[in-house]
Amino acid sequence: MKRRKVKKSHLVAYGFILPAFIIHLCIITLPSLSTLVMSLFDWNGLGKAEFIGFDNFVEIFTKDSVVKLAVIHNLEWLAVFVTVPLILGFIVAILVSRIKRFQMFLRTVYFMPYVISAVVAGRIWTAYMNPFYGLNTIFGKMGFEKLSKVLWLGEPKIALFSVAFVDNWHWWGFVMVLFLGALQQVDPTLYEAARVDGANSLQELIHVSIPGIRQTIAFVLIMTIMWSFLTFDYVYVMTNGGPANSTEILATWIYKNAFVKYRAGYANALCVLQSGICIILYFFQKWVSKRGGLDDE
């Protein structure tokens, strides 16, 4: 009798959890697994698929020169995003956490670009970076002749960094709010103890603030690193990989193969590569932050 009752209560729980689980399983997890399998096929995405073993991967590593370019661009992207928004977000978070008035107001302002859709932010900045009708007009009027002639999104050497600048504009406020939230959780008695010991504000920063938020720093690092290889929206909207593949990243290249060239099998192989890089970086970062004392799990 008792046993049946336990089972019945289990049934209710399964009834509650299964709808969400089944939807997610069918639309996301199983298709993700099928990507792994389909990476071994020659497939246009709709018709019949032909098994070709590891040919797609051989092509990625030997024939496709764009892949190498894309990975390099992703690494450049990573280099920008593990430094600029983190440092900026950290400095501003420290400053904001020490002021008494307007704290909430500033937080709301800094976070605002983050809620705006990537396509709108991308298009707004594309308009500002327009070579004839954008900010260049202002540079010209201010007398910066050279600056006013720069093709922000058209010059292969700087296009990627122009896009990264815009993504940073949208992203740093989010990082700042994460840091601010963590800083506000740091036990205030630690600061008092440091002050009693005669620490100045720089020493306080190094010995109290940074250790106090190290888990958040580790989290932001992991997120940034993985996301640097997944990023898509801003590049797609602003340059779509051009000019001349100079802003091509893995995600845009996957998208082009899957939905422009109709090489879904090959795109799937690229997805496997992309996810593989993310997983490797994830564990690498875990290992590094464990050694560096950022993570104490």
Binding site: I23, S32, L106, V109, I116, S117, F132, Y133, V177, D233
Partner: protein, 278 residues
């Protein structure tokens, strides 16, 4: 005296820097709003500045040419259905994960935790062929299905964390009074958890409204397009009219910005909650 000066300079530099960063975040957006009230020639001659003679012409043109009325309705319809379904399945699921006992509880929690970080490129190609086989490509229903699935893991854990904070005794008391588990969820937990349900609804709305990759890939029919895709198409087609690009940007982001200004605390807390457990 010297010390006083030093701290005054420090304060000045600090505030100067903070205001500069605030301007960096805000001015590009404010200028977009200003430009939407200016004529195209004015914007092209000088992209920064206040409107000399404010005009609403851009809004009439952009709204009608861009067919934003339909786009708004499409997005609201998709978002409404997705919010309703997500709140239902995630509400029940989070209740089970936080309050009930069952054998696969640990597995389910871990499953949704891992699911958060699955990149969308891993499943977009197979989903396309799946929905194509079901005849759901180029329909709003197709979008509703994929959006719902994508919103589940994050919101599940967000809700679960919140529901764990509600004492189980309240629901137990209701059950002693003869309520079923579903009744106690609806009558006890739901009213207490209303604020977090509102947060989830807001987050889902923002994500659906801003989403571009999937709606651009899965919907090609203009009459079914959501606001974000409609916006990209419009700015691509009428890219030579700068004033209209700025106006279209305002039309596209206005609902989100208004909601953000009304509920900024919920937005910020909801969007950054993933890092709490890090």
């Amino acid at each position: 005296m010297n010390k006083k000066w030093k701290s005054a300079i420090c304060t000045f530099i600090k505030w100067f820097f903070l205001i500069c960063m605030a301007s960096f975040a805000l001015i590009p957006l404010l200028q977009v709003v200003f430009n939407s009230f200016r004529s195209d020639q004015e914007v092209k001659a000088m992209p920064i500045g206040l409107p000399q003679k404010a005009t609403l012409e851009n809004y009439f043109d952009t709204w009608t040419i861009g067919e934003y009325g339909i786009a708004y309705l499409n997005t609201l319809l998709v978002a409404g259905v997705v919010i309703a379904v997500v709140l239902t399945v995630v509400g029940l699921g989070a209740y089970a994960l936080s309050k009930l006992d069952f054998r696969l509880k640990g597995f389910m929690t871990a499953y949704f935790f891992v699911a958060i970080s699955l990149p969308s490129f891993l499943y977009i190609v197979p989903d396309y062929s799946l929905l194509n086989r079901l005849g759901l490509v180029n329909t709003r229903v197709g979008l509703m299905i994929v959006y719902t699935a994508m919103q589940i893991p994050f919101n599940m854990l967000l809700l679960k964390t919140f529901l764990m904070g509600i004492p189980r005794e309240l629901e137990e008391a209701a059950k002693i009074d003869g309520c079923s588990e579903l009744d106690s969820f609806l009558k006890i937990t739901l009213p207490i958890a209303k604020p977090i349900f509102l947060t989830v609804a807001l987050l889902v709305f923002v994500n659906v409204w801003n989403e571009y990759l999937w709606s651009n890939t899965f919907v090609s029919d203009d009459a079914l397009k959501t606001v974000a895709t409609r916006f990209v198409r419009f700015t691509g087609q009428y890219g030579s009219n700068m004033a209209r690009i700025y106006t279209a940007s305002v039309i596209t982001m206005a609902p989100i910005v208004i909601l953000y200004l009304l509920f900024s605390r919920k937005f910020i807390e909801g969007m950054t909650s993933g890092s709490v457990k890090g």
